[in-house]
Amino acid sequence: MAKTGRIDWRQLIRYGLLAGVAALYVSVIGMVEVFSQRSLITGVLTLGQLLLFSAPVLAGYLAVYKDDESQTAAFSLLKGVITGLFSSLPLIALVLLANAVNLRAMFVNVSPALIDILVFGQGTAVGVLLLLLSGAIWGTLGVIIHLLPDKTRHVVLVGLSWTLGAGMLSELLIQVFRPLFGSGFIRFVFQGGALKLWASIVVFILVTLLDWYWSKRREEVKTKMANLNPTQRRAGMGVGLLILLILPWILGTYLSEVLDNVGLFILMGLGLNIAVGLAGLLDLGYVATFAIGAYVMGLFTSTSSLGVGELNFWIVLPISILAAMTAGFLLALPVLHMRGDYLAITTLGFGEIIRILALSDWLSPIIGGAQGILAIPKPQIGSFVFRGPQEIYYLILAGCILAIFVSSRLNNSRTGRQWMAMREDEDVAAAMGIDTTKSKVLAFTLSAASGGLAGAIFASKLGTIFPHSFNLLISINVLSLIIVGGMGSLPGVVVGAFALVALPELLREFAEYRLLLYGALLIVMMLARPEGLWPSAVRRRELKGTEEEEIEGGEGAPVAVTAD
C-alpha cells in the first residue's frame, strides 16, 4: 500500500538551505564567475553553472535518500521541488542585496558579472523567478536520480560524468584530435572550446551504451583477461608500452609537459607510498628527498660558477639517489621511537629545515641561496639530447617503470609484510620477531630513493633550481595523491597523480582554488570512499593454493578432519 507520509519540513529546509549556502559560498569567493569562463556544452552549460546546480541536485537526492520504498514517486518529487526552492533562497538574497547595497566593499568577488550569471542574464525580477524555477528543477532531478532503478542510475551517472568530463577537457581533446582527424572534424564537434550540444548527446548515448554493455559482459571479460596465456599477456604489455612510447608525440609539447609533471609526482608518490602506505610512517617532509636529489644533480652537473666537477648526468644520477637515501636514513634515526602525530611533526620539520638550508645565506656560497643553481645541462645519450618535455618524458617513464617494478616486488615480499605488520601493530610485529627498528630505517631509506630520482630528473629538466620550488606544498601534494589514489596501492598512486596533478594543470581555472578543491576532495574521499579511488587488491593466495592441492590429490582432506 503506497502512503504519502508527512512532509518533514525541517529536514527539507535544512538540506535546501545547506545546498543554498554552499552555492552562495562558491559564488561569493569568485569560483562561479571564474569557472563560468569555461564552457562545457556550447551555449548550454558552463562549469560555473555546473558548480551552482550540483548543490540543489545533491540536496534533492539527500532529501529522499533515507525514505522507505512505500512512498509514492509524486510525493518524493514534491520533496525535491521544495528542497530545490529553498536552495535558491540564499542566492536570491545575494542578488537582492547586491542590487540594494554595494557588497563589493566586503566581498570583492560579488561583481556585476557574477550577478548576471546568477540571474541567467535576465533582469532582477525575471532572474529571481528563474532562480526559483531552476532550484526546483535541479532539486527534482536529484530525486529522479534517486528514484531510478540502481542499474539505470549507474549507467546514467556514468554517462553524465563522461559527457561533462569530455566537455571540461574539450581543449585537451581538440589538441589531441586535431592532428589525428583534421580541423574540419574539430569544427564539426567543438565550438568555442566546448562540445556542441549534439556532440555531447552523442557522447552521452555512446558512453551509456558502452557502460550497459560492459555491465553485462564484465565478468566474462574479466575471466577472459585472467585466463590469458603468458604470450598474450606479454603481447598486451608490449602494446601498452608502445602506446606509452609514442604518447608524447601524439600529445604535443604542452601536454607532454603536463605528463612529465604527473610522472615526477608518480615517482614521488611511489616512494612516499613505501613509508606511508606500507609501513604506516606518516612522513610530511618528503619534499626534502626531492630537494636533495635536485641539488646534488644541480651542483655536480652545473656549468655555472657554482658547479662542482661538471660531471655527466648519468654519473650523478646514482649519486643523487644515494644522497637522498642517506638523508632518509639519517632522518629515520631520530624518529625511531616516535609514532603518529610526533612523527608527522618531526618529519614536517625536517622538510622545512632542508628548504631553509637551501635558502640560507650561510650555504649560499655553495648552493646559491635564493638565486639557486643555474645552467644545469640536459641529459644526453650519445648524440640524443633529452632537450624538451617530449624527450625528458622517456627518462621519467623509465624511472616510473623502474620504481613500479621495485615497489611491486617489495610489496609482495617478506619486507613488504614486515612493513604492513608494523603499520597494523608495532608491538605485535616486534613480538612476532620483526626488528621494527631495522624495518623503519629501511622504509625511510628506500622511500627516499625515488624522491631523489624525481628531484634529479626535475633539476636537469628545468635547467635551474630555486629553493622555493621545494616547499611544503609538494609534500602535501604527494601525500594527498596517495590518499586519493588509495593507501598502499600502486595503481592508486598513478590514478591519484593524474587526478591531483594533471587535472588542475589542464583546468587553469582551478589554479586559484587548488587548495580549496584539494580540501573538499579529501573530505569527500574520506566520507565516501576512504579506501581511495583504486585501493590495493587483497592478494589471492589461497585460491591459487587450493586449486593446486586439488590437482595433487585428496591428501589434504583427511588432515582437515583430524585437525578438528
Partner: protein, 266 residues
C-alpha cells in the same frame, strides 16, 4: 623431572610506586603445561609482557633455554623461540589470514629486501615454502578456505584460532597463551582446551597459560601458580591449589574462605 625451559628468579616489575610483579620465582619444565591464575590486576599479563620483552624488568633474572632475556628486545626474544597470543586479540587486521600466519613465521625467514627486488631463487623458494607452511597451519587450526579473508572479517572464535596459528607459525619452543578462551561459550572452550592439549602432545610445545576459566586450568595444567597483588601466593598441582585456603581467600575474600569451595568439574 625434565629440565626447565624458562626460569624466572626474583623478577620484579614496578610502575612508579606500584609493584606489579614482586620477586617472582617461577619455572616452566620443558614439555609441560603450566598455568598462572589470579584475580584481576594480579600481575599475570604484566609477567607475560616481561617475558616477551614488552616491559623491561626492574630486578631479577629471566633465563630461557640458555639465553638471558633481561633487556632483550621483543623481536630477539621471539627469535629465541617464545611466541604469544594476546588477551584482547591483536591480529594484523588489514592483512589477510595467510599473511598474518606468514608474518608469524618471521623468526625462521632469512630473505632480504635486495633478494626481493632481484627475485633471487632463494627468496622465491623461501616465499613459496612460507606460503605452503601457512596453508598447512590454516588447516591445522581449521581455517582452511579462509586464507584470503582479511583478518578483521573473521568471526571472533576464528580470530582467536588465527592468533594461535600465527603464534605457532614460528615453531616456538614456548607458547604463551593469554586467556585463550575469553569470550567463548562452553562448547568452544572445551574445543580450545582439547586443542591446547594437542599442541603439547603432538607438537611438543611447552605452554604457559593465563586463564580465568577454572575448568580449563584445572583440566589441562600440570602445575598452577597463583598470583595476587604481584606475589606468588601458591603453587602446586591443580588438586593442591583447589584446596589451598590462601587461594580461596584471594578469589572470594576473607570471610568466604572458611566455608566456600571453588567449583571445579575437572
Amino acid at each position: 623431572m625434565a629440565e626447565d625451559l624458562l626460569v624466572a628468579r626474583k623478577v620484579t616489575k614496578r610502575f612508579g610506586g606500584l609493584v606489579a610483579v614482586r620477586e617472582l620465582d617461577f619455572t616452566i619444565p620443558k614439555g609441560s603445561i603450566v598455568s598462572i591464575i589470579g584475580p584481576n590486576g594480579a600481575g599475570k599479563t604484566t609477567f607475560f609482557n616481561c617475558i616477551t620483552g614488552f616491559y623491561s624488568i626492574d630486578e631479577g633474572d629471566l633465563i630461557f633455554d640458555g639465553h638471558r632475556l633481561n633487556g632483550r628486545p621483543s623481536y630477539q626474544i621471539a627469535r629465541y623461540g617464545i611466541s604469544r597470543t594476546f588477551q584482547n586479540i591483536r591480529l594484523f587486521e588489514n592483512m589477510t589470514v595467510i599473511e598474518n600466519i606468514m608474518v608469524g613465521q618471521e623468526p625462521r625467514l632469512t630473505s632480504s629486501w635486495i633478494g626481493a627486488i632481484l627475485g633471487t631463487p632463494h627468496t622465491r623458494a623461501e616465499e613459496e615454502q612460507a606460503e605452503k607452511k601457512a596453508r598447512e597451519m590454516l588447516q591445522f587450526v581449521g581455517l582452511q578456505g579462509k586464507g584470503d579473508w582479511l583478518a578483521k572479517n573473521l568471526p571472533y572464535g576464528e580470530q582467536r584460532r588465527l592468533e594461535i596459528a600465527r603464534a605457532l607459525a614460528s615453531d616456538p619452543k614456548l607458547l604463551l597463551l593469554d586467556e585463550p578462551t575469553a569470550g567463548m561459550n562452553p562448547r568452544e572452550t572445551a574445543e580450545t582446551t582439547r586443542f591446547i592439549q594437542r599442541l603439547r602432545d603432538e607438537l611438543g610445545i611447552t605452554i604457559l597459560l593465563i586463564e580465568h576459566d577454572m575448568r580449563v586450568v584445572m583440566g589441562i595444567s600440570e602445575r598452577v601458580t597463583v598470583l595476587d597483588y604481584g606475589e606468588k601466593i601458591a603453587e602446586g598441582t591443580p588438586a593442591e591449589i583447589q584446596t589451598n585456603p590462601r587461594v580461596i581467600e584471594a578469589y572470594l575474600g576473607r570471610g568466604a574462605a572458611a566455608s566456600a569451595n571453588i567449583e571445579v568439574s575437572a
